[in-house]
Symmetry: D2
Subunit: 337 residues, 4 copies
């Protein structure tokens, strides 16, 4: 039985609480910390079996009975709390991104070295049934050598301009998941990134200095090409598709809907829209990543996504930003130096 402390009890914190309660029998939520703990979150924490809640995450780090922490506090705290937690001897599950600053992620990496502690970063989509199936097809050789990887990733609704200002920009906030997915499906890292981007959805996003529509082309280390298309607003729902095309075939994944019902009438043949909300679409994936994190601790095995997997998509995101600024393809090596 792994004792867990949850740091950050917002939306995602509560998702993880619920996952552990209902799907991870070998873990127990011992404590929940949040400086602005809502009454609802407090109630959920207690219902989930937490022995105590606290405003100060340091209480959790100091708790000798706690084996692992789940960091779902605000993005700017991810890397410092990761470092403190590792120093306190805790295994860490950290929401993405670890940091927008490469040096800070590297500090986490250095701190972790030699400790034997487990570290997992929360790229939940790798645990989604569709993306898993696509990757399995690639790994099993069903499509031969990958030549072209395509990701469509469109949000149902744009964020507020307020949020955009603090988010690190679309590439570090939203596309970062797609960068991880490209690595997952290609089975290797990117070498070069070129972005053609625009502000087509909401002028406020442009005023906040960001883009909301982009085509991102990548050259992968294995020679494959990849392309991501992003929009901050797909009126028909959360659009999350992928395709890997290779020497022996192609695997493609579609969206999930609430049902398979199709109505045929005078207007056409109409099926349901894609599920609208990322929590709805990826709820099962959130559960599965937590199962694997706890299992890695119990069995002393590798986590499925280490801290390096948290670094790489940030490098890709920074290269994407630079590509937009300079209007040219940018090598990952230009970012990493």
């Amino acid at each position: 039985m792994v004792n867990v402390g949850i740091i950050g009890a917002g939306r995602i914190g509560q998702v993880h609480m619920n996952s552990i309660l209902t799907r991870v029998p070998n873990a127990k939520i011992k404590a929940v910390a949040d400086p602005f703990l809502s009454e609802e979150a407090d109630k959920k924490a207690k219902a989930a079996g937490a022995e105590y809640t606290t405003k100060d995450y340091k209480d959790i780090l100091a708790d000798k009975d706690i084996d692992a922490v789940i960091i779902c506090s605000s993005t700017d705290t991810h890397s410092p709390i990761s470092i403190e937690a590792i120093k306190a001897g805790k295994h860490v599950f950290c929401e993405k991104p670890i940091d927008h600053d490469v040096d800070k992620i590297k500090e986490v990496i250095k701190t972790l070295e030699g400790t034997g502690l487990k570290y997992q970063v929360g790229f939940n989509r790798r645990f989604d049934h569709n993306f898993e199936a696509a990757q399995r097809a690639v790994v099993n050789g069903k499509i031969g050598a990958p030549h072209i990887i395509k990701i469509t990733s469109r949000d149902p609704e744009p964020p507020s301009a307020e949020y955009v200002k603090v988010s690190g920009g679309m590439f570090l906030d939203m596309t970062i998941h797609d960068f991880d997915m490209v690595r997952f499906l290609a089975g290797c890292d990117a070498e070069e990134v070129y972005v053609q981007a625009a502000n087509l959805v909401d002028p406020e996003i442009g005023k906040a200095g960001d883009v909301d529509t982009a085509i991102i082309t990548l050259k992968m280390e294995n020679g494959a090409l990849a392309v991501i298309d992003n929009s901050r607003q797909a009126v028909y729902g959360y659009d999350q598709r992928a395709e890997v095309f290779g020497s022996k075939g192609m695997v493609a994944i579609k969206n999930d809907s609430d049902s398979t019902a199709v109505i045929s009438n005078e207007d056409g043949v109409t099926g349901e829209k894609p599920q609208f909300f990322f929590l709805e679409r990826y709820m099962d994936a959130y559960g599965k990543e937590m199962v694997q994190f706890i299992d890695a601790i119990e069995n002393d095995t590798e986590t499925p996504l280490g801290v390096e997997d948290g670094l790489k998509p940030v490098l890709m995101g920074l290269a994407a930003k630079k590509s937009v600024e300079e209007g040219r393809p940018v090598k990952i090596s230009e970012i990493e130096f």
Copy 2:
């Protein structure tokens, strides 16, 4: 080169003219007969290369240069003209049904015996790309032994009550195609028919003594079960699907649409309706059946659908009518005696 005379220059007659002109290089339309030849049909006949048109089909039967006739006159004339044509030494392509009267079809069979002439009946759906693919899957053993054959056949719009009165009823007019399809997909004849039918679409059809909605269950000679569902009105278009389920799998065919375009918006994910009109859906099949008829003449081979194939669906239709009248399953042997 096969010289052809067309008897009946209505809608279907003109379809066959066009097929021969554009798709059957080894046939030539020599003459067209129709007692009420429209100006349009006359023009089409001439454009299709007909040397003459006539009001009297007997002119065609008397024409020594004509090898084959295509009978697309009114249903009640199919069997008598067939008989006359055979006696005149012509190969015959006859639209379905040959007759509603079993004895008259048997007379055609008797007349044909020993003549060496070719006879083909116009069950065009056998030549449709979808139904062909389903049957090929069955014949090639892709689904093992057939256990359940399902046909959905729904017209886009109900016929007029006027038409219903002279049509022989839904089973002989509309379902007759589905009876042929059941035989085609099962690879054998039916033994027993049970119908549950209703008048749900148009009360005028009920007043004309017919039904417009039916579920028809059949027991096939090879032990398989079959079911046809019919409606005289599917508001979304001409609904023509089938499924064969067997010991090793299932083959299913869907409708054709004008394009594969799918629009996703706030209302859902909407594709095109099935093609609305039987001529649109089966135009290619009409061409293919004509190619095969002419080829059978040229190569002296069996036509793909002989006169017996014209008889069997009529027996099934008569059994269906009796089943509705008597509210019980009816054996084909009760009809054929």
Copy 3:
């Protein structure tokens, strides 16, 4: 908070335990009874928070703190334990079928009358996302007046001949779910049933006196026609589809698969098979039916499926059996008298 006792801790009993634990926060499992309680089930019961387990369900009925029982013991005990439980003042959730004997179900109905206790029968498919969406389309008038209801229901693997002998036969064991679904989608009861059935899957099933393949035609009270096709073995998985066709359109539901992944290669364009196992396909539905049962108790509202809903499909099943025996359509009124 509703205190629940579970009677029968086999496969389905354990599903309900898990549903209550993870999805029904306003219910608590107080005790679990099973004459042959397995070690695994005992462990699960304890993990689910049960205060005690027992071999004798009467312990549960005698427990004053228990408000409701969930009966998932063997079929022959459903009606007697229902009656005892009602007499002991417990709300009852009973797995299907309540009984194969109409009189015994009627006794349950009589016992329940006037008690104010809740009774729910476990036709879980009504809570499946696909079937729910189809029924919602019908209720919301999306397809107009229903004319034809079609259910495809095929099991992935045939039961053993041993099981067949005690199952009550295919119609009471397997088709009973489809009979419920026809009522659900048509929004009314059946008047008449005709079955064409065969033994095509496994000769042992025939020797055990049962059929394994069937086409079942029903006439519904609202004039609609319905048809169910059943097979005990679909090699490609658990085939659970439905279609309601009406005056203004059609709603159709397809199977669920483990992912949307489609592989295109030299062999074709291949998607995943339907989910293979009923627990996998309907796990979510099992959870939802339990939520609604507990909610009905807490809010003193009607359960979504009363004891009458348990009776009607049994009548349909008995009519189906009689139809096979006598080779004719059978009215429900012949069974019910």
Copy 4:
């Protein structure tokens, strides 16, 4: 009636002959010219009603009775014959590309100016039922303002290295159709092109100095972004899909197959591959473009695709080549000046 001369009687020339014969009643093939006229082509020409065949296309240009020419000779002759034909007072249908040299296309434009003659370039895909439906959805406002246009265009089999050498390279030979399609779907011209390309399919193509796999990103004049992905080899068939995503929704088109048949068995749920060959997929489109060319002559209206529409994709192709050579985004204005 428009009298037509066909210049070039290879594969495409014969397609146009057949289209005119079977689908364009208001055109007549008067003559066919080909320096290496095959016996088969000669026979077809005669069967199509040609009064004469000749080795010298100048005979056709000199023929006073011929109103229009269809140029389907080798690519290097397109622009010179276009110019001669215009000077001879003939309407011109010219296969794509008009030329690889921008200046030569501009000469055609200049020659055409003020003549009142019709000129149509053969981007047949605009007449394909799927692409037409996608464009109609855009034009009719079904998806709002276009934000992202995506084209997937993959050939079933790579060309020989021999062919590659004389083809002008993938962008001018294959992608040129996709460049036209981007213009058609976006409703405007491209401003900038960036290409990430590779040689992944066949090393011989690389040795011949060409690429066989590419991701091409375009910035359109209306602000929309576009992306084309190309491969010279899709083992599953000719992959021709598109998607237009906009402020109010998305329209997507899929491939065509020979039938809708889907087989479900132990291996999965398998539908047919996309049609393999471009003639099969676009045969209907070839017919429709010819109908529109002849109609434009008869009715003295604009052809659907003028000589400017032949120029623009060449500019895009040249920009694409430059982008690969220089590893940077290239503006169309850099090519055109």
